[in-house]
Symmetry: C2
Subunit: 255 residues, 2 copies
């Protein structure tokens, strides 16, 4: 199984602190050593980093821990291979373009007997069940909407599509196009919302604390979505099985 | 205008030496300061780095100068903005998926009045003429072939498509799917082939030499394609206007 980390923020925010804790699970506090990846939206542009080395050893991950890339939507993934070899083409997150938006997707889980018929323009490059599921979602979205739908409409369509794939196994995923971040859980995902007044928070996976009030303004809002809580003194709300949530401007949406 | 750098190699090879010289053109020996990008194929997987900072200042470019990523096909680009704002979504190279392959594209030049009709699944995310041309090429390739064609067939199709775009202006580009690297010039591109026995070569843009015979084996072959010669003591063959060449396993192909 793998682990997921997502961030949706109102203002461009760096994820250095959370990624530092998360990366510990790639060898030190977890065994997710079969590659990692991370995508940062800046507007509709994407920086996409993948490596088949573990996030503890990768020089690229080391760069990200030191270089604060500010972004409004981030998706990170550390991999423990279940299907597909340890290879760059199997590292999440995956990226595709649809309607002139980049779409970024990462999955935690294992799908069995998910034999989707791909009859459109989206095909996997690697050999994972995850990339196959992503290509199928892109195909079905392209069929459902002529152009980028509203975030609410998109949420309703995704809810239907996710339920169809989830019949085949564990399907926790994160998806973003830079405007919103969608998160779906069948087994394990939780989120926290950070807003003014910020306080001191402490990582669960490493002996490190940061006082967010020193680095933030009253206008900042950030939601963090992750497989297992990253900090020991924040409120992490677990997803119910089958829940799909949308986050915009650092806040959970009601629909 | 921008500058292009491509590598096609028989065996995974790092481009640290050539990129060090190339990156000097982003501020020191050239004025290509409006972003840069680089994509490395490992098999059919891709590492894709883009930054809207110059390649001289970018921490990501600094990482690439120090961290030898071994690859068989590399495309790099340093940008001097002509069309489109300085933004991440306008940084080359661009990546799209077609037939289960990633395709990587970078362009040097300026297209005027190229108003391609995009009626398929490929749409630009940013605002450059370059990404529009790339999306049109992907669309036309998808119409011309049902699946990945042979490299020779692909070369013939690309030659026709490139000629149609080149009517609109300067269209020097590099394209790869990990199996081959295609290069097209209307004004400025040259290449060199490095093979056994290797010797000492010296960068034109920086006071740096490397003795490739110390780092290579008799089985290695590498072709380097670049806007202007990178070294002062190798033979660089200029492209004729309108030429499209294919490189496979580090060698220029005859077709």
């Amino acid at each position: 199984m793998c682990q997921l980390l997502g961030m949706n923020a109102k203002n461009p925010t760096d994820l250095t602190f959370s990624f530092t804790g998360f990366a510990q699970r790639a060898g030190r506090t977890g065994d997710h050593v079969d590659g990692w990846g991370m995508a940062f939206f800046e507007g509709h542009g994407v920086r996409h980093f993948v490596d088949h080395q573990s996030a503890m050893k990768s020089p690229v991950a080391e760069l990200i821990r030191r270089y604060p890339i500010k972004s409004t939507n981030v998706i990170a993934h550390i991999r423990k291979a279940t299907q597909g070899a340890v290879a760059l083409s199997n590292c999440h997150p995956f990226v595709r373009e649809l309607w002139g938006n980049y779409w970024v997707f990462a999955h935690n889980g294992n799908l069995v007997g998910f034999d989707a018929r791909l009859h459109s323009h989206f095909h996997p490059v690697g050999g994972t069940d995850s990339e196959l599921a992503f290509c199928w979602i892109m195909q079905e979205l392209a069929k459902s909407h002529a152009g980028v739908p509203s975030i609410q409409e998109m949420t309703l369509t995704l809810r239907e599509l996710a339920a169809r794939i989830a019949r085949h196994g564990t399907f926790n995923f994160l998806l973003s196009n830079g405007d919103a971040l969608w998160a779906h859980a069948t087994t394990q995902l939780c989120y926290t919302e950070r807003a003014w007044p910020y306080s001191m928070v402490s990582l669960s996976d490493e002996d490190l604390s940061v006082d967010f009030s020193q680095h933030t303004s009253p206008d900042d809002k950030t939601a963090i979505i992750v497989t297992a809580p990253l900090t020991s003194n924040e409120t992490w709300v677990p997803f119910a099985p089958g829940e799909l949530k949308a986050f915009v401007d650092g806040q959970l949406q009601a629909f």
